[in-house]
């Protein structure tokens, strides 16, 4: 999927072949899922009704798409205008991330034409899931509106509409931060209803706060990680403004991530202490909890701190995917590994081949659309016709 190959015009590159195979397999599994039902392609049961389509596609997708609100808040609300060049790539990543979350949700819920029912037809206002659904619905719209100026600049001739959207930037950014605060924490709050199912080391009343805090450093890490990959593959698309602030942005985000991760680490320990769960640390689950907390939070936090101190970009770029992996591990632990932990192993959930294929299918579609957009629209550069614009 490299741009060099795209430029040379060859479709049959190794990455394109892999992407093509995943897409072909995904289409087959999609047809099976929507014609023969969940049971034909998943290992979901009444004990485990939520598998990796929720644990990975939704929980990880939403957390890792948090770069949109963190970057736009840094630029427009906190006034770090030197990060302006990074806003569009972050918004695009977030928009595609949320779009893929909604797309993947159709596989889990089924009957796609009824996906809008909770919003427009029958609102379950006492349910946290309703709040998550409403927030994701509105935030996806907000992200689309934030991304739209880039598409309008590309097509030209829509300056009036673009101008209106640009004037709405501050309002949309504030709305995005509010909505993210609500639904990122609500995803954690979903698990508050299951104290008997979630392992005591992961179950805490602070789950909503932890989900929100972890989404912040997940978003910052994704911006660093996505920026590093984009620099490798789309460097020729980047202008001086983007390149000028790029290293500064990565180090500033490393500093912010280190600070938030330190707070998150403290919350983890307070959660353990307030519920008096120390005795579980000596068990197998305790070792796994320590691996998650110290191996994938404390250590990348230290790496970020050293990276910022020594202005060591390489270390920050190592810590970013490490942190992203830690977020995936945390969401997997809460939704799969530590969930239903007391069930006998025969009743435990393990994803089927079909579920894994669909998750890969969704990620691949997201990557391909990202590539399609950044190679055509002004994402990494300012459109020459709009050089004087503040957006």
């Amino acid at each position: 999927m490299s741009t060099e190959n795209a430029k040379s015009g060859s479709l049959f590159t190794p990455w394109n072949i892999v992407a093509g195979l995943i897409l072909a397999a995904g289409i087959v599994v999609t047809i099976m899922r929507f014609t023969m039902g969940l049971g034909s392609v998943t290992n979901l049961t009444d004990n485990n009704p939520w598998g990796i389509w929720i644990g990975f596609d939704l929980l990880c997708g939403v957390a890792l798409a948090a770069g949109g609100y963190t970057t736009s808040a840094a630029c427009y609300i906190f006034g770090f205008k030197r990060f302006h060049g990074a806003v569009r790539p972050a918004i695009l990543t977030a928009f595609l991330g949320y779009a893929m979350v909604v797309f993947a949700l159709n596989y889990d819920v089924g009957r796609p034409w009824r996906l809008v029912y909770p919003i427009f037809y029958q609102q379950g206002t006492t349910s946290i899931l309703f709040e998550v659904g409403l927030c994701v619905f509105i935030y996806l719209t907000v992200l689309f509106l934030e991304y739209l100026p880039a598409a309008l600049e590309w097509k030209r001739g829509f300056d009036k509409y673009r101008g209106i959207l640009v004037k709405m930037t501050m309002g949309l950014t504030i709305l995005g931060v509010i909505l993210s605060t609500l639904h990122q924490s609500s995803l954690g709050a979903l698990y508050l209803i299951a104290p008997s199912k979630l392992h005591p080391l992961w179950y805490t009343a602070y789950l909503p706060v932890m989900f929100f805090m972890s989404s912040m450093f997940a978003g910052l890490s994704m911006v660093i990680f996505e920026g590093t990959i984009s620099h490798k593959h789309f460097h020729h698309k980047m202008d001086a403004e983007y390149n000028g602030g790029y290293e500064d942005l990565q180090l500033a985000f490393a500093k912010a991530a280190a600070w938030i991760m330190a707070g998150y680490l403290a919350m983890k320990i307070f959660g353990l202490s307030m519920d008096n769960r120390w005795q579980y640390l000596g068990t197998g689950y305790g070792v796994w909890w320590l691996v998650e907390v110290f191996g994938f939070v404390a250590m990348p936090c230290y790496c970020y701190a050293v990276a910022y101190r020594d202005r060591n970009l390489k270390l920050a770029r190592i810590a970013a995917p490490w942190t992203v992996l830690g977020i995936v591990l945390n969401r997997f632990n809460i939704s799969l590994v530590a969930f239903n932990w007391q069930l006998p192993s025969v009743d435990r959930y393990f994803p089927s081949f079909g579920e894994i294929v669909i998750s890969l299918f969704v990620v691949t579609i997201g990557v391909l659309i990202f590539r399609f957009i950044v190679t055509r629209m002004p994402i990494f550069y300012v459109h020459p016709a709009y050089k004087d614009s503040s957006h």
């Binding site: 403290a266 307030m274 008096n276």
Partner: protein
Amino acid sequence: MFNTLQDLMLHNKSITYVLMGVVLICFVGFWHFLTDKEERKRRY
């Protein structure tokens, strides 16, 4: 051994409050570790 919920809560909160104090002190140290190489803006 805790005989009442009150005993348990008192024990848990006591330990947590001590930990919070320790964490607050650690945060000051961590902040210094994070920023002590930053160029200071001279205001004089």
